[in-house]
Amino acid sequence: MTLDEIKIGGLGASRRRVEDDRFIRGKGNYVDDIVLPDMLHMEILRSPVAHARIKSIDVSKAWEIPGVRLVLTGEMMAARNLAWMPTLSYDTQAVLATDKVRFQGQEVACVIADDPYIAKDGCAAIVVEYELLPAIVNPEQALGSDAPTIRDDKQNQLDNVIFDWEVGDKSGTDAAFDQADLVSKIEMHYPRSHPSPIETCGSIADFDRATSKLTVYMTSQAPHIIRAAVAMVAELPEHMIRIVSPDIGGGFGNKVPVYPGYVASILASILLERPVKWIEDKSGNLISTGFGRDVYLKGELALRNDGKILGVRMNTTSDHGAFFSDAQPSKFKIGLMHSAFACYDIPTAHLTARGVYTNKAPGGVAYRCSFRVTEAMYFQERMVQAAADDLGMDQAAFRRMNFVRDDDFPHRTAFGFLTDSGQYAKCLDVGLEAIGYEDFLVEQAEAKKQGRLLGIGISTMTEPLGAGNSKEYDILGIKMFDSAQLRVHMSGKAILRTGAKSQGQGHETTWAQIVAHELGIPAEDVVVEEGDTDTAPFGMGTYASRSTPVAGAAVAMVSRKIRAKARKLAAHLLEASEEDIEWELGRFYLRGDHDRGVTIQECAMAAYSNMPDGMEPGLENTSYYDPPNLTWPFACYITTVEIDPSTGVWDVLRVVAVDDCGVRINPMIVEGQIMGGLTEAYAMANMQFITFDEEGNCIGGNYMDYLLPTAWETPGFELHEVVTPCPHHPIGAKGIGECATVGGPAAFVNAVMDALKGHDVRNIDMPLLADRVHEAIVDRTDVSGIPPIKVG
């Protein structure tokens, strides 16, 4: 009897999640839930100002508080060569400030005490004397001739420029623009935003003097990278470091970098020889840890009158804060910004990018994003809409005309990426059909006569997910592969470990489904473990939607290795030669005699009890997977909105999402990812941003100032799919986690801009707060950037 793959929880089963069983009971195991014997608690004293020289730090009052065990300052860190640490972008970052503070919220001192309340008391008792310096809060100021050099700690750094970088064909692009019938130009800003998982960052460092082993429980999306970083920073031998990422309360890129709190808790544990727990508070998280975005664009499209795009020119200026600590493939200074326009057939393109230091928190993390693709796709789709308007063309027709066609794959993009699959026009058609495009245009025109402002926004994009291939993608020289290790017990049950680390993506559920698909072992018989560097094989972790493309592929490949060995065991059990053995899900049988067979479970038992002469016992293997290319999911998001012209408030009428992420392992989980991603897209378009006043005070350092959408304002979503399997992934899957966050914002903004057609408004920068939309309507003008908020 043939196994029913859906029944055993294989590929395509909307299997209910394994991890839920503990989460719904309140039995998750997040870092703050871990209590070790004799554990102490650490709190961080942060800078209240954005830019200042430290004149003195007096910690004497903190030491007098009963229960305070240690006070750490930059000076003490410096004595151990730990005042600075390397970032993931070949820069340095202060662990605890020694010379200057360079952003509000920067780590200045740490107090370690018997409980967190005493540790906070200790922080409050520290007196720091600052000599204020002018705060630089945007790139324009940073590049001014009289701007102070923020990074005067670095030799040879005489200004605030971090990098100038370019990619593409400048002369070819210039020529295309010379031949254009029309050049469409637009400038915009993608505001600073914070990933803001509900759980903040934290760690428990536990140094055991007797064994010299350091164990760190921490909120890390990439525990193996952290182990390498700790070995480097703390100069500890790698085999004496164990990083454990327990359950993580959301990551979204925020939990990739190495933060000063982790390093300080480690040093504190080494000095005190006791476990030290650091749990960041929400303000600390929002004002000091990896933000996303904050990029200014000047974009130009060279157009032919019939609508053909002849060339793309992009110039970006990015604000990285005080330390360049973007977590991204090292070779690409502005991430994969040059993945812009990958879904369009464009002859030539050129991108120039400048990164600058400012007095803001460092970051530029890939916030639900593959290294700046969120900015890339937003800029792309805003430029596309502006161009369609300039041409007087229908926005859907303009896109369709410029799409890479289904029979044009593999396709080399103008910026040099190789896309390999997709049905772009079909996705667009499914979306237009679902939203009722033609009917809406009629409704919109009717409404306009009554003074109502309806708009429809489209965003279509393909993006590169699943870094990398190791030739192109590395972080600090470490190639971006991933791994899986599968051990099948004698009963046919199994344990699987990977180098990825789930933070809500549901790996414990979906990885088992891949094993079920490859081996016919029911998913419920496979337990999945991640996050412990002592047991998991080396991998680069989970971010940038890379788990399924890379670690998921490794799961399939290791399962195939297991199957290859099981085939030999089957041949032995069936007393046949291996060539005469056939496979069907969960079972080997003799060619020509389907009834004579053995199950994968019987093979597993034989691996421990009845292996052929000369065969190594056991049924276990490891795969390291280096993908041949990125995966290229495609998405079409369409939203409709209505603006109240008297207030600028806009309501979302409908949201249609068509995602082509290839083969879906667990459709329920995929849809959950898409809805979560759409919500973050809506958030960024509508409310979610962090800004600074002219003194560099962070506006958005708590959930009263930093607005996240609730169940009340979040719209409902209508999901559709097209399936174009990835040609190189072992099970045809592509990344999906971030697609809606990447492609979604432009759909909302384009809808609002569409509603304002005829108002002489070309662009309103996100977030489209009601007052900004209202200003655009009343003044018939663009609303750009986020000006510094005046003090007083």
């Binding site: 719904i24 309340y117 509900i198 929400k282 919500t679 009263m704 169940a711 979503f717």
Partner: protein, 181 residues
């Protein structure tokens, strides 16, 4: 609460004031001595070792710390432990017996109403309070009732579906008498 020994602090007694607080937690009466500044969330987590109640934002915005205090949902990060003296507290661990699931817990799993799980206990408790006072809520009523609880993973749609699912199950089971604690 017996122990074979209790360590007596060698340090001189501090001048930190202490208050005695008695609360009933998930049906068990507990008496503790606390500093007046101790937050209820921390008493629940560190004192009673009920770590299902999470602290997310410290400003009563995210709702991860939501528990029922005498049947009403409160954000325990903004309630002092001393304010809870004499009260009944229900946390996520008290929703159902060890081998059982409350229909809300079933609903969240069945409708994929959670991803990272961090906001889930607060969502469950806020939902329980809703279904107690309104056994048959509309979608809008669910969305409004949960608007004090933030989730960054799900986009809420499945959470709303989960609550509606649970409401239906409770009504089918004749469970409209869903009682506080």
């Amino acid at each position: 609460m017996s122990s074979l020994f209790t360590e007596v602090s060698a340090e001189p007694p501090s001048d930190v004031p202490v208050r005695r607080v008695t609360v009933t937690v998930n049906g068990d009466e507990r008496t503790v001595e606390v500093e007046p500044r101790l937050l209820l969330a921390h008493l629940i987590r560190s004192g009673f070792k009920l770590t299902g109640t999470h602290t997310g934002c410290d400003t009563s915005n995210c709702g991860a710390c939501t528990v029922l205090l005498d049947g009403e949902p409160v954000k325990s990060c903004t309630v002092l432990a001393v304010q809870a003296d004499g009260s009944e507290i229900m946390t996520v661990e008290g929703l159902a017996g060890p081998s059982e699931l409350h229909p809300l817990q079933e609903g969240f799993k069945d409708e994929h109403g959670l991803q990272c799980g961090f906001c889930t206990p607060g969502m469950l408790m806020a939902s329980k309070a809703l279904l107690q006072r309104n056994p048959d809520p509309t979608e809008d009523e669910v969305r409004w009732a949960l608007s004090g609880n933030l989730c960054r993973c799900t986009g809420y749609q499945n959470i709303v579906n989960a609550v509606l699912w649970a409401g239906e199950k409770l009504r089918a089971d004749g469970g409209t008498q869903e009682e506080a604690t």
